[in-house]
């Protein structure tokens, strides 16, 4: 290539990397690759499409020396849709509401127990394994949907940005490990499976549940919302009790 062409190529790259188009396309393309692998593997939870897409994108960003801020200017259009999609969870919930009503008490009891288990066991493990105080506090709301988790973390004196990362990692881990674990303990009921996914791994678990079964998806969305509420109320109270 002649130096002139190289110069033009560089100009095109500079132009593209400054426009949201490049990173929006990258996000969709990386997800397509992830979802293609996931489908090829018969929706095996271990081939989580979010994880695959994130790995591809992080590698591309590191290789091209692009910052997350630049990336997010393109990716924000996808990120924005999380809000309307959360509102949309009302539809599967409404469709399955008869089932929710039938076992309302069991649902509340299991979400409450799951919520307490998630926070207490996470704090206990980090503390026992010798983690720093910041880490112990920041992991407490890890199973809660990100905006609420960050708020709780701040209230307790943790690091909200560390909490956000732990929430993402928890969601991906739960979406990957939850289904095989549920098979192992022999839980076949879609309602119970959905609740477990929603309490343990919020929206990412709910996304996985919806891909497999609508009943599971509806219960998972419900569990995600109620878990956020329960944790936000109980965790600050528990924290005051311990200190």
């Amino acid at each position: 290539m002649k130096p002139q062409n190289l110069e033009t190529l560089r100009d095109i790259w500079v132009y593209l990397s400054a426009s949201p188009l490049l990173h929006l396309t990258l996000t969709l393309a990386a997800y397509q690759v992830g979802f293609w692998l996931y489908r090829r593997g018969n929706l095996n939870p271990l081939l989580n499409p979010v994880l695959i897409a994130v790995i591809i994108i992080v590698l591309v960003l590191l290789a091209t020396d692009s910052s997350y801020q630049t990336y997010f200017e393109g990716a924000q259009f996808v990120h924005f849709l999380l809000g309307p999609a959360t509102v949309a969870l009302a539809v599967p919930l409404y469709r399955q509401f008869e089932k929710v009503r039938e076992s309302a008490i069991a649902i509340f009891a299991s979400i409450l127990a799951g919520s307490l288990t998630a926070s207490i066991s996470a704090v206990a493990v980090v503390w026992l394994a010798g983690g720093a105080r910041d880490a112990v506090i920041s992991i407490a709301p890890k199973s809660v949907t990100a905006p609420v988790a960050m708020g709780i973390s701040e209230q307790l004196g943790g690091l909200p940005s560390l909490t956000a990362v732990l929430v993402m990692l928890t969601g991906i881990s739960g979406a990957m490990l939850g289904p095989p674990l549920l098979n192992l303990i022999g839980v076949k009921d879609w309602a119970a499976r959905g609740l477990a996914m929603g309490v343990s791994s919020h929206g990412i678990g709910t996304a996985r549940a919806l891909q497999v079964n609508e009943v599971a998806g509806a219960f998972s969305g419900l569990a995600m919302g109620l878990n956020a509420l329960a944790t936000a109320i109980m965790l600050p109270l528990l924290w005051r009790l311990v200190n």
Binding site: Y31, V78, H79, S103, A106, L162, T170, I185, M197, G225
Partner: protein, 117 residues
């Protein structure tokens, strides 16, 4: 289609306002979910176009977590200091939560399946 997209966004906006005004510890979109649910209950059904729209959004729900997931790259250093306790906690606690929640639901669901709200 456009009508229902507007309704979806309006529910979210109303949810954000409600959450901010009442100081409830839940995010605006979750409040919006409750509002849309109330609307569906009043309407006594899901309009077909709304169902198509929400099904389309929810089919691709996992895509929407990708931008936030990439944010992990900002915090490699934060994670590096305590990576072992943090990974142990995520794996153990998430597994325990799955087992406890599903276990109690299966047990109570069988024992008291007829308890209505």
């Amino acid at each position: 289609m456009l009508l229902y997209l507007t309704i979806l966004l309006s529910c979210q906006l109303a949810g954000e306002l409600l959450a901010a005004a009442t100081g409830l510890p839940i995010p605006g979109p979750v409040c919006g979910m409750a509002l849309l649910f109330a609307g569906l209950a009043i309407n006594k059904g899901v309009p077909k176009d709304l169902g198509d729209l929400t099904d389309g959004l929810l089919t691709n729900l996992s895509l929407l977590f990708v931008p936030a997931g990439v944010g992990v790259m900002l915090h490699f250093q934060l994670l590096a200091t305590d990576w072992l306790p943090l990974s142990l906690a995520i794996l153990i606690s998430t597994s325990l939560t799955v087992v406890v929640t599903a276990g109690i639901m299966s047990y109570l669901g069988k024992a008291g399946g007829s308890q209505k709200l």
